[in-house]
Amino acid sequence: MNEKAPLDRDERISNLKGMGCSRKRVEDVRFTQGRGNYVDDVKLPGMLFGDFVRSPYAHARIKSIDTEAAKAIPGVIAVLTAADLAPLNLHWMPTLAGDKQMVLADGKVLFQGQEVAFVVAEDRYAAADGIEAVVVDYEELPVITDPFKALADDAVVLREDLEAGADGAHGPRRHHNHIFLWEAGDKTTTEQAIDSADVVAEEMVYYHRTHPCPLETCGSVASMDKITGKLTLWGTFQAPHVVRTVASLLSGIEEHNIRVISPDIGGGFGNKVGVYPGYVCSIVASIVTGKPVKWVEDRMENLMATAFARDYWMKGRISATKEGKITGLECHVTADHGAFDACADPTKFPAGFFHICTGSYDIPTAYVGVDGVYTNKAPGGVAYRCSFRVTEAAYFIERMIEVLAIELDMDAAELRRINFIRQDQFPYQSALGWEYDSGDYHTAWDKAMAAVGYDDLRKEQAEMVEAFKRGESRKLLGIGLTHFTEIVGAGPVKNCDILGMGMFDSCEIRIHPTGSAIARLGTISQGQGHATTFAQILATEIGIQADSITVEEGDTDTAPYGLGTYGSRSTPVAGAATAMAGRKIRAKAQMIAAYLLEVHDDDVEFDVDRFVVKGAPERFKTMKEIAYAAYNQAIPGVEPGLEAVSYYDPPNMTYPFGAYICVMEIDVDTGTHHVRQMYALDDCGTRINPMVIDGQVHGGLTEAYAIAMGQEIAYDEIGNCKTGTLMDFFIPTSFETPHYTTDHTVTPSPHHPIGAKGVGESPNVGGVPAFSNAVHDAFRAFGLRQSHMPHDQWRIWETANKLGMHA
């Protein structure tokens, strides 16, 4: 037999399937066969089902709850109300934002769909019958759905549980429906700069209330084993370790006796960061009944009660010289937080990272003030594919730039170009306190302009405007420009925590004797493909083929503590931890290799999948050989085994950026639109898996398209949610969804071990202003400055109508 020819270096690299290649996803083999394991797939012996009685009213006092008839229904085991939870002190729970929230209605309800009673039954059918039989006597109260009206002197008191005049978690509350005022920047300097400027543009920019609406709703299965005293909790948790800590603090069960498992998650997009009453009730019900209890919300419950996003009224002023150089930016936000402040932000940032709102521009002075307000709407305020209010910030600045361009009578692309932070200014200190790590905005912008043929588009647009004015056509062309800068990868423990837990993340690696490996992380994939991409990072770092590395997440009994997956933090934080843990493995492997090769440690160097003797590449030990040696040789001064763990505290956030351009035709008569082109250039630093990045961008752009063009959570005046099903809550099908063109530049993060910045949210953050700006731009020639999203058909029609375009 011929001996196999040794592989050349390129082949060895290619076999690794490491960073930079479009490795096919390992997850897909299960998923394409229907072998995923989502929370509703969890089936335990004797498992019961819990379901909620929910309030039909947005604001009402509860005079009585009669559960007798429900308990008499065959199959109904128990009905829990606040009165049952009160002795356990579980009728309220703390929120991530320092407020508290009713688990079950305690005396009153504050939003439609609020949880009032929890029916536990043998199956979901009996539970549904039980819900119908619970009789609740409500006394309706005045409803506030407008955050500005909520702050009127005579507005009804929503939160009677809060002491009048007492401070909240984030400082003084100036009104009974006020939550906090959070500020950044220098107010005085900014006002001076704006008041003395050549040109000032002022606008109210509203980013409407919407919802992440992953295809899988939220749910949990709690199983309290009374014999071992151990609680196991499966659930749709984007942050399983945090859930374990919260569950322990709430229930008094010691943390080692709680095991939280996030199984496969059917999309998160921020919806599954929060802690919901259903989770708490399933735990209590399991403790009470001694049986496993499953709770899975239906779609209406999901849209009405868990995790809204956005709902920011942003009043802005931006000033510039007459040549267009920006001199100041000011923003005051009225933030509608709903009935409880359950926003999912790092503790010290009640308005998230909204103060990234100076965007990609070199703005010398800026000020932001955010007022959080209670209303009779669902709580939440999650980051819907967004890093803590960055979407709102990006939308705000990208709208203000457009409005300023109108004020200056300038091309909006040119206005951006002359105000971009220059490459030589990085690291860049923003006026609102951030240190941007790296960027090359001009290069990205020029590439985008060239790719879409910007100048020709402007000519075509002008011709269409003329044709419209001559009465020959009813179609307009909009060119939606956006250059966004994201801030992701929360975050440095010195200023980022959630409920006191620093926002580090972690990775633990075990190399098996035969040279394969398992890596466990504190994050949890919801479709991002961590099992694929983290193995690629490791493959490159430790020279073991990605196909021989199992990545496991989501089981708190086995995974190291981490803060979970949201805010594009997995790659910047856990990805860094993975690289760092890999480097610890490599350092030990180097010692083993040197011992095996009988040379000094410094005389070997890492080469793809092996250590070689410097200057003598024919003398080497592969990682496979080294792994075996780690377990079967007594190496002086080296412990057996090959394992490492890293807890990574990032020194800074990362700042991905991108240039997006949407070309949209609008039919003025119908209010309908056609996206002719959607070009998205992303710079997320080092690219781990281009195929996965493209997939993330396609998905995020589609969410952005939905948000900009029709998706909203809307209420009527008495607080009825009008968008509770997928008939009315806009999720585009394959037929409406545009085709996308993706592109990239690469500007690595200087402080990240592998230079990666994160990409998951960029397309949502940048996509919304691109689509919205396209609509606005189409009407610019007819005098439009600002119209509120979503730009659905009737709102576009209304815009045209107000501009006198319907004869």
């Binding site: 019958d129 008569d669 209010g671 099908t733």
Partner: protein, 284 residues
């Protein structure tokens, strides 16, 4: 979303179905494709103690394209309508309309009988049936009777069908050659913001016959007789179309919902009618 309990019946012929309907009266409902009824039951907005599944009644299915008349069994699905070549040759408007209903899965289940009988003003087939001047066949304990589609609808979910009757078939004459069903909606799967069904016949440059009906612009489908009349005898020029739109506006009574306010609906009603007339005219 779990429906209340019910008893299930699956009769194999009409007589058996009618006897169950007669026995339980108001407490019984027939189910065809079920894609309107089942969601209502899951939301507990429809209570149906006795559900009568018509799927085993073979006589309710089928498409018969005769020399003069076209007859379609009530249990014929939208999918079957779309894929029936003889029907498409004889009355292509059926296919054009059916393709705009809901989505592929729903069209495999949704039936023409269910679509016309349920009385939902959002359904597309009722307006088309009015436009075609279709006849509905109803069978009850006292035998069979017919009713014109143009007389069938009283209000949302209120029709001329008695509780103990089953709509068994629809029938219509071979339609005028020019046709269009123009529907504006927010996305696939949505009901119409406004839709217009138009049939036109022409002789050279002169319109010799027209029929118009509108969807989701009132609590019933709207047969716009006057609007059609304004077209007849004209060259279907812009003045004639404007007059037809004006007449149609007199007949509709839209209400506000998430698709938009009333003035928008009226505007879109005009746009879809204009486009439907133009397309139908070009095909006539």
């Amino acid at each position: 979303m779990i429906p209340a309990a019910f008893e299930y019946h699956r009769p194999s012929d009409i007589a058996a179905a009618l006897s169950i309907l007669t026995e339980y009266g108001d407490d019984a409902r027939v189910i065809a494709g079920g894609h309107s009824l089942v969601p209502m039951m899951k939301l507990r907005m429809a209570e149906v103690p006795h559900l009568i599944d018509l799927q085993d009644i073979g006589t309710l299915r089928g498409i018969d394209v005769g020399a003069d008349r076209i007859r379609i069994g009530a249990m014929t699905t939208q999918h079957d309508l779309i894929n029936h070549d003889a029907l498409t040759n004889a009355a292509p408007t059926i296919r054009e309309t059916a393709l705009q209903i809901a989505d592929p899965q729903v069209r495999y289940m949704g039936t023409i009988g269910g679509n016309v009988a349920n009385g939902d003003p959002g359904n597309d087939m009722p307006a088309l049936m009015q436009c075609l001047d279709a006849t509905f066949y109803l069978t009850g304990p006292n035998g069979e009777r017919t009713v014109s589609a143009r007389e069938f609808y009283f209000a949302a979910y209120a029709t001329d069908r008695e509780d103990d009757e089953i709509l068994t078939a629809i029938e219509f004459a071979h339609p005028m050659p020019g046709f269009a069903y123009e529907k504006q909606k927010r996305k696939i799967g949505d009901y119409a913001t406004a839709a217009a069904a138009v049939l036109i016949q022409r002789d050279g440059e002169r319109c010799t016959g027209a029929s118009i009906a509108m969807t989701n612009l009132s609590d019933t489908p709207v047969f716009a007789e006057d609007a059609a009349a304004t077209l007849v005898g004209t060259a279907v020029d812009s003045a004639a179309i404007a007059a037809a739109i004006e007449a149609m506006q007199q007949a509709i009574d839209p209400s506000e919902d998430n698709r938009g306010p009333v003035p928008f609906k009226r505007h879109i009603a005009g746009v879809v009618l204009q486009r439907a007339i133009e397309r139908a005219w070009s095909r006539a």
